[in-house]
Subunit: 327 residues, 2 copies
């Protein structure tokens, strides 16, 4: 059966990197059927909503979604999209590619971020003019599901194990439940693991990123620590991510809409192409996924480069080079 892929360019450079990446997906699997949908600032301007019902339906019905970026409305787009695909884990690799200007070239990390709860459940109240509260939720169910995923991830990739990030010395019940649950699942499955306080980990990742591999995190900790790791590899420009659910998934570059360069045809499509490689693997096109990743890596190493990487090539030239590697 043909896989149906929803593509949502969104705003800014999303409109350049998503079509470029779609060309790559078409090249490796001519049978994919693509459906395009709108989300973000522009469609909100037009219709009053950043995530139209039609887009929600297309994403829900697709086998996987490729999303670019949204501007001001980012949270109103990406948080519901993650819910629609039922994503319980956000997979965020942060790797320094050879030939790019990384602060810590030895960085090769993957953050497995809990993607449904923590401070993201949306339970906030303005109790009085003076007092606002937010209820942070941690469940054993979500922690267990994340831990199972992490164990499989480590086993399939022959990783050494994982580090559990948390702040259970302060958030004793909530991060305590998270830490203990992930710990228990890993013990049962015999997956090696250690743990680190998220603040101490922020220091250590800067000082010795090579000592870490897979990091399993609560939602906000994963948000901040993976962005820190982006800083270590030279910025958000090359980082892909996957929002994985039980039966659906959404893939997106970690970068934003880059309004300063949008529309000029010089956006770097590599992060979106790496996201597409994750999409291919999710749909069990393992070889194709690997091929796309290698093609992009080899272009990064000695092909044309966009200005963010010190080159002067445009999005199309980089895309052509990636397609050239694939043919």
């Amino acid at each position: 059966m043909t896989d149906r892929i929803a593509v949502i360019p969104g705003d800014g450079i999303g409109r350049e990197v998503v079509p470029a990446t779609q060309r790559v997906l078409e090249a490796v699997e001519p049978e994919f059927s693509f459906v395009e949908a709108a989300a973000g600032d522009a469609v909100k301007e037009e219709t009053g909503t950043a995530l139209p019902a039609e887009t929600r339906e297309l994403v829900a019905d697709a086998d996987a979604t490729l999303f670019g970026a949204a501007g001001e409305t980012a949270a109103d787009v990406i948080l519901p999209l993650r819910q629609i695909v039922g994503s319980f884990v956000n997979v965020r690799p942060a790797r320094a590619y050879p030939g790019t200007d990384a602060l810590r070239p030895e960085t090769d990390l993957v953050f497995l971020r809990e993607n449904t709860e923590g401070v993201y459940t949306g339970h906030e109240s303005r109790l009085t003019d003076d007092v606002a509260t937010l209820t942070r939720v941690v469940t054993e169910f979500a922690s267990e599901r994340l831990a199972e995923f992490a164990c499989e991830y480590v086993e399939e990739r022959d990783e050494d194990g994982f580090t559990i990030a948390h702040k259970a010395n302060v958030m004793r019940e909530t991060d305590g439940l998270f830490r203990d649950t992930v710990d228990r699942v890993a013990d049962v499955r015999g997956v090696p693991h250690d743990e680190a306080l998220m603040d101490a980990l922020a220091t250590h990742l800067c000082l010795h990123p090579e000592e870490y591999g897979v990091v399993v995190c609560p939602n906000l900790a994963g948000d901040v620590l993976s962005d820190l790791a982006a800083g270590l590899v030279g910025g958000l420009g090359l980082l892909p991510s996957a929002n994985i659910g039980p039966e659906n998934a959404l893939f997106e570059p970690v970068h934003g809409t880059a309004p300063d360069i949008a529309g000029e045809g010089v956006a770097n499509p590599c992060a979106t192409m790496f996201s597409a490689a994750m999409l291919l693997e999710y749909l069990d096109y393992d070889e194709e996924g690997k091929a796309v990743r290698s093609a992009v890596e080899s272009v990064l190493e000695d092909g044309p480069r966009t200005p963010d990487l010190g080159g002067s090539a445009g999005t199309d030239a980089v895309t052509d080079a990636v397609l050239g590697q694939l043919s």
Copy 2:
């Protein structure tokens, strides 16, 4: 009137760096009266409590406290101590000193961390076996007090302004209240300011620390971002901090007990001495504070060094060198 200073060495290298720093305080102001108090793992082992009532009283009655570090019981010691001194702001400078091995030598940041609320208020529940919650609290009162402090801090030091860190795109009510309140106070006082999402800031601090100066943060954001900055300047080893309340304050190095080197006489006392410089300034010994800071800086630049900085000097030799600079 003689100022009364409580000293709490705590555990591990706290017992080396605090006495060393006390020598420096005695040298610049022979009139100080010191009272020593116990806290941490060792006193818990002995008495069953990590923070004995006597220590609480001494700290409450002192004009200022110098604290070293506590081991496993760190949270049980430092969180109540911050409450006892009524500390509403945690001042955390993170600066790369010349002659030390920093990842980003251009780093010169100060975090002003809210020190009473956020996820630190301790309202947690285990609702069922499966569900734990934490209530994060943000008040206009605390945000305003922090903002007033930040404005004065910037004005007194002729800083360019400050950056407000937050995650108001997700924590709309709570961090929204924080952001809007700090913003409003700064507007009224005419202090230049901008804002940044804490995740994006984690990336930017790695890439361009020189673009930031004073960063005003909610409690946990300040914890994590200041530890990130510690990574940029080469570790926690040299970072001081101040917990300031309306009528009392507590000063501590950001590092921990360093059990691996405790007792060997090679602990680096510089972070505690920088903390003592902040203590002196807090007690209006501005000149003495400045003198201590310069003395430590000049020893760091070309005096004896402890092993963590690549030297082979002990704590005493470094302390003697600092005292030499002061005399």
